[in-house]
Each structure stands twice: as C-alpha cells, then as structure tokens.
C-alpha cells in the first residue's frame, strides 16, 4: 500500500490552510479531487483506497482528538472508532470536503469519548509526563527557546486538560482547527452564543489556571 501511486500524490500535496480549503471549489482543488476519487474507490469496496485516506489524515485527526480528549489511549481509541465509523458510513458521504467530513466524525467520536470518560473515569491526563509532544514546526533550534516552548506547551496542555470538556472542545475547534462559530455550533449541537461563551470563558479559565506561569507566554 505504501508504494501505491495514490500515496505518492498524497505525500506531495502542499499543506492547505483552513481558509484555502474553504475558498476553493471541489473542481479547482486537486486535494479535494484526489480525496473524492479515493472515497469513490472505497465505496466500491477498495479497502486500500480507504486506508490511503487514513494515512493522509490520521496525524491531523489524532492531533485534533488528543486535544479534545487529553488521555492519549482514549484519544487513539476515539480516532480508530472514527475511522471505523467513516468506513461504515461511506455511503452517507454527500460530497464536499472529505477532510471536513472526517473532522466531523472525529469530533463526534471525541465527544463520545468525553462522555465515556465521565461515565468511567480513568487516571487523568497521563500524557503530561511523557515526551511525545513534538516541538512546534519552525521552532528555533536555540535550546533555551526550545525549552521555554516545551514548558509553555506543557503548561498549556495541563491547563487545557483541566477546563471543562465543552470549553476545551470549543477552544480546540476555534483556535487550533480554525472553524468559525457557526461551524462549531453545528458540530457540537449548541447555539452560537453558547459557543462564544465557551470559548471566552475557557480562555479566562486558562489564564486563571496559568496565573503563576504567564511569563512563559509574555515575551
């Protein structure tokens, strides 16, 4: 599968911004066209085509889900469940952006995992002690700056893991994934005002939680 020509196309693609995806039509966008071809093949029973989609999006989707569900194992399970669900519901795909479709499935899976976590709490947030969080792309090689960035990420991750699931979901979708208020409202099934309130209250809560460490962010 790794030698498949489809994957070659996938690896060569330029990263797309959210705005870029929104402003291009399906016909103009080679990424969209490729995704639609893969979906079509997968619908015809080609598991390899579906797995090419998985390979293309699993990193992004895991990054999305693990921020919503801070427990890494639960996040991985949620992503796996999302891909199962996507495969099961290939026929329900109605066109448009495949990435958005997968994102929505993953957001649903993450919210399911959040509910399951409430039902059966696990040891909270074991990811805070591990070193698997990569430094942000483009970060300076300066060791001091790298250390500060790592510390900032750790502080922010810990604070994000502490605020409510609803606030975290809204902040991740808005600040990290770049969805607008209306899209988040639709994805999470709440009103526009609730989305705004969750984002703003969430940011205030993050600030309160990191009160003694704000110098990491100020300079």
């Amino acid at each position: 599968m790794l030698d498949s020509p489809r994957l070659t196309i996938a690896i060569r693609r330029d990263p797309q911004t959210m705005e870029g995806l929104r402003s291009t039509t399906v016909a103009d966008d080679p990424v969209q066209r490729r995704d639609l071809i893969l979906i079509e093949q997968a619908r015809d029973g080609d598991l390899g085509a579906f797995n090419d989609l998985v390979v293309l999006y699993q990193d992004q989707l895991y990054a999305l889900v693990v921020r919503m569900v801070p427990d890494r194992d639960q996040a991985a399970d949620a992503v796996q469940e999302a891909f199962f669900s996507a495969f099961r519901n290939l026929k329900s795909f109605r066109g448009g952006s495949v990435k958005s479709w997968l994102n929505r499935i993953c957001v649903n899976a993450a919210m399911d995992a959040q509910r399951a976590k409430k039902r059966r709490p696990v040891q909270p947030y074991p990811e805070l002690d591990d070193e698997s969080w990569q430094p942000p792309a483009g970060e300076s090689a300066d060791p001091e700056r790298t250390a500060v960035a790592a510390e900032r990420t750790r502080a922010l991750s810990a604070a994000l893991a502490t605020i409510t699931d609803d606030q975290r979901t809204a902040i991740v979708l808005f600040d990290i994934e770049g969805y607008d208020y209306a899209e988040i409202a639709e994805m999470t099934g709440v009103s526009l005002g609730t989305v705004k309130s969750r984002i703003h209250r969430g940011r205030l809560a993050l600030r309160d939680l990191m009160e003694g460490r704000m110098e990491l962010f100020r300079g």
């Binding site: 895991y62 969080w133 942000p136 940011r203 704000m214």
Partner: protein
C-alpha cells in the same frame, strides 16, 4: 499610559475576552475601550488572553501512538451486520432513543400496574370501600372491579342495611361511609328518597354497571408487557454499552 484602576473588580473580564474576537456590540465595545484606556489590569488581561490564544494556535503537535489503517478483518467488523449493528447503535452515546423509550415503557408499565391494583371505588366512588367498611375487609381484598366490589358489599351487607342488590353500594356516600337508608346524602343524590326507592347516588353508578371483567386484566397484561419491554431494553442497552466499553 494606563493607570491602576481601583474599580477593576467591577470590569467584566468576559467582555474583555469577547472583545478579543470582536463579538461585542457597539455599546459594549465602547465600554471595553474605556476600560482598556484607563485600567492597567484590564490591559494586562487582554494581553494575556491574546498570548494564550496565540500559544494555543502554535501548540506542539502530539505524536500518533499507532497506525489507524484498517485490516480486512477490521473492515469486516466495521461493516457490522445484523444484531452487531443494532447493538452498536444502542451502545452509542449518541443514541437518543433507547434510554427514554426504556424509561417510558417501564414507567407506563409500573403506572398501569399501580392503577390496576388501586380499588376502583377509591377513585370513582365508595363501592369497594363500602364493602370493606361493612365487613371489615381491607380494600386490597376487594376486587377493583366495581361490580365485584358492589357484589362483595351486597354479600356482606348486614341484614336490613341495604336490600338493594346489586346496589348495595348505593348505601355508600362515596367516601367510604355507609349511609343509612334515610341519609340526607342519599336523599339529596337520589332525589326520590322520600319514596324509599332503590335510586342510587351519583357516585355509585359503578355498582350498577354490567360486568367488565376484561378491563383490568387487559390493563394488567399491557402493563406487564410494557414493564418487561422497558426493563429488557434497559438491560440490552446496559449490556451493549458494557460490551462497547470492553
């Protein structure tokens, strides 16, 4: 330069957070601009919120712990046919049907059973109570069927008390009190009491209705059915979720 404002505590931080995304109306925006022009802690808060939003956007990306591609066996499992698919749907936290349905059926079943076991007389008149009062039997011993209650009352009525079979219940005032033949209640309700006829009080018509033996039994059967279905559905959901969690 801004100065510390003693009234910072009265400044709403939520408005400052909202100002960051430009979601305030003109009046609120003007208010926040005033705070930002005069209150140092408000300026600090806004700067911190901007920094947090920026840091969130550029947060490190966590590495993926495993590959999520599907094997042929996974694909077969994901397709999930028949009862597996049904169980998966029931186990899903997004399932909004099973739980309320189970609760509704169980409640209806319990309510039906309760209703079927309440003596009819206590709801609609004193027929059953009359029987119970006259012979000392408890109301639970009296069939909830008005006819049975009436018959019971008639059978156990003291001699001379009310020779109005099947309207022994006619001697009741509807509140479990046995009214004597000359009772004003009976007089009033019957309207022809002076004639000493066997007219019945308004609340005692149940005692005179023809037997309706199937009524309660149908209610009981339907209630048991609903109760069983509700409990079964709840157990099915619980089991499916346990399987899903496992």
């Amino acid at each position: 330069m801004t100065t510390p404002a003693p009234d910072h505590a009265t400044h709403d931080p939520l408005l400052i957070a909202s100002h960051l995304d430009g979601t305030l109306d003109a009046r609120e925006a003007t208010l926040v601009h005033e705070w930002l022009a005069t209150c140092e802690p408000c300026v600090e808060l806004r700067a911190d919120l901007v920094a947090i939003a920026a840091a969130t956007r550029t947060m490190a990306m966590p590495t993926r712990p495993r590959d999520f591609t599907l094997t042929a066996a996974d694909a077969e499992r994901a397709r999930g046919r028949g009862w597996r698919r049904v169980l998966a749907a029931i186990a899903s936290p997004r399932d909004r049907v099973t739980r309320p349905l189970a609760v509704g059926l169980t409640t209806l079943g319990l309510a039906g059973l309760l209703l079927a076991n309440i003596p009819t007389a206590s709801l609609f008149g004193g027929a059953a109570s009359a029987g119970a009062t006259s012979d000392g039997a408890t109301s639970s011993q009296v069939e909830m069927n008005g006819v049975d209650a009436g018959a019971g009352a008639a059978a156990s009525a003291p001699v001379g008390a009310a020779p109005l079979v099947p309207n022994a219940a006619a001697t009741s005032d509807g509140y479990g009190q046995v009214a004597p033949e000359s009772s004003p209640i009976r007089d009033t309700a019957g309207g022809e009491s002076g004639k000493g006829t066997d007219k019945v009080t308004g609340g005692d018509h149940l005692g005179a209705t023809p037997p309706a033996a199937t009524g309660p039994s149908i209610l009981i059967a339907a209630s048991i059915l609903m109760l069983a279905a509700g409990v079964a559905l709840a157990l099915l959901r619980w089991g499916a979720r346990r399987l899903g969690d496992g």
